[in-house]
């Protein structure tokens, strides 16, 4: 049997269509399974507490969480509107994040590039890093008071080390050949950093940003729990002290949404900055 060009073409078209359909079907199944998981967990939680198998006084209830959220939106919290609490927590987290990232990148590249500096400072950095940094929160509250600066400081410290170590490692991992090549092509020391060191450390730095933003929020919330006049952390402590699990969950839900939004924005930034990478790799990252 011989195949004509047309036969081959129709067969290829059919195969392509089939694989596209399989792809779509798979995606629908995945989404359906995701929704089912959510429904089972939330629904189960609701039913178990309604049937009193677990005590809603300790575990709260999904409907209670929704009621609490509505109450916050309509009447505000004890410390002012819910939007103000969110705004303050985000302000603290973002400031800590921005300063921490900037400081981490600058110090990481400096110490990664200048051997002398890294030899001098590495034991101290290791020592500070060994400290559970949350305990610094209490010190910052004492130093900087109950305002937002103590929370920004705690966020900063948490973010700084994550970004610093990644930037430092990224600089150390730069392909020696790339550096030798641009040096021979005539690059000055600054040009080497700008054209080779920074871009090649960038994928390390960007990878650290995902974790770093989580830490920024942790810093802000923990700082608020330790002592504050406003913010989501304060809302959580208050709810906890009033034996109101729904309030704790409602605040947690808000934080979760904020963190996921930030994560999504960072992924967008990452995809934009690393658009030069081979396609397969970016797809794997996005999945």
């Amino acid at each position: 049997m011989t195949l004509t060009a047309e036969d081959i073409e129709t067969r290829q078209a059919a195969t392509a269509l089939r694989s596209r359909l399989t792809g779509r079907r798979r995606r629908i199944v995945v989404y359906a399974a995701r929704l089912a998981t959510l429904a089972i967990v939330i629904g189960g939680w609701q039913l178990f507490t309604t049937w009193k198998i677990v005590d809603p006084f300790f575990f709260g209830q999904p409907t209670g969480v929704v009621t609490k959220l509505r109450e916050w939106v309509e009447h505000g919290t004890a410390y002012g509107s819910i939007w103000m609490q969110i705004g303050i927590t985000m302000e603290e987290a973002l400031l800590g994040f921005v300063f921490g990232v900037a400081g981490g990148i600058v110090c990481g590249i400096l110490l990664g590039q200048v051997r002398f500096l890294s030899d001098v400072f590495s034991p101290y950095i290791k020592a500070i890093n060994a400290l559970p940094r949350i305990v610094l929160g209490t010190i910052f509250v004492v130093w900087l008071g109950l305002g937002i600066s103590s929370k920004v400081m705690l966020s900063f410290v948490l973010v700084f080390f994550v970004v610093f170590f990644n930037a430092f490692q990224g600089v150390r991992e730069v392909d020696r050949n790339f550096i030798a090549n641009v040096r021979i092509l005539g690059a000055s020391r600054f040009q080497v950093v700008r054209s080779v060191v920074l871009p090649s450390a960038l994928s390390w730095i960007l990878a650290s940003l995902h974790v770093a933003f989580g830490f920024a929020i942790v810093g802000a919330i923990v700082g608020e729990i330790l002592g504050a006049q406003h913010g989501l952390g304060l809302v959580i402590v208050t709810a906890q002290n009033q034996f109101d699990p729904n309030g704790v969950y409602a605040a947690m839900l808000i934080i979760m949404i904020l963190a996921l939004t930030a994560e999504w924005l960072i992924s967008l930034l990452e995809r934009r900055l690393l658009s030069w990478r081979p396609q397969a790799q970016t797809e794997a990252l996005a999945a």
């Binding site: 790339f178 641009v182 021979i184 092509l185």
Partner: protein, 305 residues
């Protein structure tokens, strides 16, 4: 005799080979404007190994590349030929000996020298155009001018239309062309090449070799071309230096008197004179290759020196 130098065409052993040799010498002669020679005398390079011992990569190496000459350096794996190139490039300093480029001692990286690496040294996050334009940009040429020049060089190496691609979107051979354009755009008087076509398949390698010769012929920089492919060395070079198994030193130097232009490197391999030279040089190289091979397969003898 450790340093046995054979110079074809000057020994007078065969009058037949004297003539073409002189002909080609006259047009590569030292008078070439802008060309600089390379001179290694008594170069020794020792490295400190992580366990604190000294490792000698090169020992008392002497080699001269005349201005505008294409010199191939062949030797077994690990004989220090790449180390010699990094020294000439100024990326590293010799432990002993003097190294001159264009008559002046090498003291760090100098402009006028280009290097083509064995592995890809193209920056993966830059486009092809930006990769080629790097050289002029580092030298302070305005961006527009540098890009125009890069475009021109990409046309020369046959990659017009690929300016906006990233290196990973190109084949191995195309990436080598980009590297070549990036190296030549600075109009070097010294071109150092470290097994530049080593990773390519045989056909692509032959094509790239032909193009390299054509481009070299237009600007005539002095070339030091490291390879372990003897056929490639003879087909391309004016002079072939054989390096001993490490620590490397020059065992013998052969002048290749095949007339230029050489034409296709695939065909020159069948010329009687090519085969004759190949036989001669291989006799000398084989010993070193065997020694290097024996070292990797048996228990290493103590590093005596």
């Amino acid at each position: 005799m450790q340093h046995n130098t054979f110079i074809g065409g000057y020994g007078g052993s065969s009058p037949r080979q004297t003539e073409p040799n002189e002909v080609f010498r006259s047009d590569t002669g030292a008078g070439e404007p802008g060309s600089r020679g390379i001179e290694l005398s008594g170069i020794t390079k020792r490295f400190r190994t992580p366990d604190g011992n000294a490792f000698t990569a090169l020992r008392d190496m002497n080699l001269t590349v005349e201005p505008g000459q294409f010199c191939a350096v062949v030797g077994p794996t690990g004989c220090g030929k790449s180390t010699a190139l990094t020294l000439v490039a100024g990326l590293d300093r010799p432990s002993a000996g003097t190294l001159r480029v264009g008559g002046t001692p090498v003291n760090g990286i100098a402009s006028g020298t280009s290097f083509m690496f064995q592995t890809d040294a193209l920056l993966p996050w830059k486009t092809v155009l930006a990769n080629v334009a790097m050289g002029p940009l580092f030298h302070g040429v305005p961006k527009k001018e540098a890009h125009a020049k890069a475009r021109e060089w990409l046309r020369v190496v046959g990659l017009s239309g690929f300016e906006g691609h990233h290196p990973h979107q190109l084949s191995g051979g195309m990436r080598k062309r980009v590297s070549l354009a990036a190296a030549l755009i600075n109009e070097p008087s010294i071109l150092l090449m470290d097994e530049p076509f080593g990773a390519l398949d045989v056909q692509t390698k032959a094509i790239m070799s032909n193009e390299l010769l054509t481009l070299w012929d237009q600007t005539r920089p002095s070339v030091m071309f490291v390879t372990h492919d003897l056929e490639e060395a003879i087909a391309l070079a004016d002079r072939v230096a054989v390096i001993t198994a490490g620590p490397g030193t020059v065992k013998a130097v052969y002048d290749v008197d095949l007339p230029r232009p050489r034409g296709a490197v695939q065909e020159i391999r069948f010329e009687p004179r090519f085969l004759e030279l190949h036989q001669q040089i291989w006799d000398s190289l084989r010993e070193e290759v065997e020694r290097a091979y024996a070292r990797t397969t048996s228990i290493p003898e103590g590093e005596g020196s």
